[in-house]
Amino acid sequence: MPEVKERRSGSPVGPPVNPRAPAAPARRRLLHGAAPVLMTLVSRPVLGAVQCVTPSVFCSGNLSVAGDVVVCQGKTPGQWIADPSWPPPFTPDTPFNTVFGPNPQYACDTLLDVLLPSDNSAPSADTPAPVRTHHRTLRDMLLGKAQDKAGTSRGPEARGGQPAPRTPGSALPSNQLAGVQSEVNAGGVSGAGTVGDPTIPRFQSAPRTAGSGVTSNQLAGLRGQPSSGGVSGHPLPSWFKRKGQGQETPPTPQPAAPVPGPVDPLGCNNNSETPASTEPSSPGTTPTARGRRRHPWFSRGSRPQDAVARHIVSALLNAQAGLTPGLPVGTVKGMWSEYVTKGYFEPTAGVQWNAQDIVTYLVSTQPV
């Protein structure tokens, strides 16, 4: 099997051509040499296509996969909100708990309700990730994350023993990561970050001779821009951890509000402060929250899990639509279930993803 590497996978060099091969006649040498394709270096896509990986692969950063690169084409929550065609059996009116199991905090919510932004305003265009590559190069090369390959010795400079701490892939463009930040921070996750990863090439410099600096126009492009520039696919070096990976603060309990008159047990149909639209949105219009008024104890939108829930729903729809081969429906459901049960998701043993980590991963499956 020819060796296939995502560039900078750290995989060992492929097997050498047998030096003992006889000096056969040209034809035999031609036919009976090594495998036809000895090595393949899979390109990191500059624009558009995103390699679709499972959570554990995303976590490990090892994108050395044999065979074809599978591409993610997941849609963002905003795109699903505007999409009139949901993959059956899911519809905008499908109750959230029907899909993901009983959860009093979402008892009154449909899938669309959960997708909508927390203030039920018109959904802003989810910032697309025009460039999404998960690329370990800079992190691993410059920070000494030697691969723990069986039987592979590492140089004297390598740390011994402990596995490297793992964080979700961080190769998100700054605008996308900022979106993730603000979304999760709305739920009270600590870690005020403003700047994301530079993954989009800001410019392509003309060749210049040694001794000359970057041209002023290039530097002008850098100035005033947070962490800008860079080759697509360069994650943040992990010696510097990506901002926003702070401790998740628990949601502040909301005091119970007086509820007039008889109510259903979960308060889904209480009062009329917020009109409940029962008409399905027609394509091209801004959908409104179709949920009923929620019990004030379960005020949606101010909790970290709401950001997770929002992206979980879009991930569910993406999976059902076949847009994210690396993330099937079962995995999406399991991710949510584990998160609401434990407060985190373990993509692989020893690694725990909080709300922001989960959202970061899910956003990575939504390139356009």
């Binding site: 691993d140 410059l142 400079e157 390598a158 040694a210 530097l219 360069h234």
Partner: protein
């Protein structure tokens, strides 16, 4: 002017205010910081580097600064700043100089796309350049430090800059980063090497930086044509051996280790192919640094 010509007080003042415009090869970085660790690190490891005039052009504007939080005082931390923004989480304050070095690497590898940038050590002997691409833990930096202490000119310990116009390696001589056991190995191998005080508990373990030789700094304007591509691999019980590597495989290794190979597309392919076609290519295993140096000295005689 070189940095050592600045008094300590002047250096401190420059760092705290307009910044010190430090030239490292083709790159000028304006560095600002009030941290003693940065001051001490620059004074120790960059003493012989040119300093440009205040207000002159700088490729990058970097700073090491404490965060705007209680962590300025309580278990103090620092942040690497680039153009006024802090893209990264803070680090312990004692890692300030290491953070600056790592940040400068980041600046170059993310922005200097006028070159093809390969994650490799790059040295020169007899006018020819040696490229040592290697994974972390391959022993690349240890080997680089060993060779440098035995007369090889340092072009870079981490980032080989390959010029599209000439196919030559562009020097970017900066302190060599040593980690963990390599620190003691180099101390024992090169008694007159100048090393910073190691910082511990970094993401890499213990880290120290070795000052680049004076000649390497003085000759930072001299490019060198690659003549050897060697993939090093340290193995504790290895017999020192240099083995041939096909040019095809050497090409793939270089491409694999090039940060911006994809960005440059066909142009990057052609540059690497041109470079490889003019190089002797090998894999190299070693466990003893002195034996390794002997092998490379012999190799340099084949230029």
């Amino acid at each position: 002017m070189i940095l050592r010509e600045l008094s300590r007080q002047t250096l401190r003042s420059c760092l705290a205010n307009g910044g010190v415009r430090l030239r490292t090869g083709p790159i000028v970085t304006c560095i600002r910081s009030r941290c003693d660790e940065v001051l001490n690190g620059l004074a120790l490891l960059y003493a012989d580097y040119p300093v440009e005039d205040e207000g002159s052009f700088a490729d990058f504007h970097a700073a090491i600064a404490p965060p705007r939080s209680v962590r300025r005082w309580l278990r103090p931390q620092i942040s690497f700043e680039f153009d006024g923004a802090s893209p990264f989480f803070p680090l312990p304050a004692d890692q300030a100089f290491a953070a600056l070095e790592w940040g400068l690497n980041w600046c170059v590898s993310f922005h200097c796309h006028q070159y093809l940038i390969v994650h490799a050590a790059c040295l020169e002997r007899t006018g020819c350049a040696l490229l040592l691409p290697g994974e972390p833990g391959s022993g690349k930096s240890t080997l680089c430090a060993g060779l440098v202490s035995r007369g090889w000119r340092l072009l870079s310990d981490e980032l080989a800059l390959l010029d599209f116009a000439t196919g030559e390696a562009v020097p970017l001589p900066r302190p060599i980063s040593l980690k963990n056991a390599a620190i003691d190995v180099i101390r024992a191998f090169a008694h007159d090497a100048v090393l910073s005080t190691p910082v511990h508990d970094t993401s890499k373990g213990s880290v120290a930086h070795m000052r680049a030789p004076l000649e390497s700094v003085h000759r930072a304007g001299e490019l060198a044509r690659p003549r050897w591509i060697v993939l090093p691999k340290y193995r504790s019980d290895a017999t020192t051996s240099l083995n041939p590597l096909s040019r095809g495989r050497a090409f793939m290794e270089l491409a694999d280790h090039a940060f911006n190979y994809d960005l440059h597309g066909r142009r990057g392919f052609d540059l690497l192919a041109d470079i490889v076609s003019g190089c002797h290519c090998h894999t190299f295993e070693y466990s003893a640094l002195d034996e390794a140096v002997t092998v490379f000295d012999t190799l340099s005689a084949t230029a």
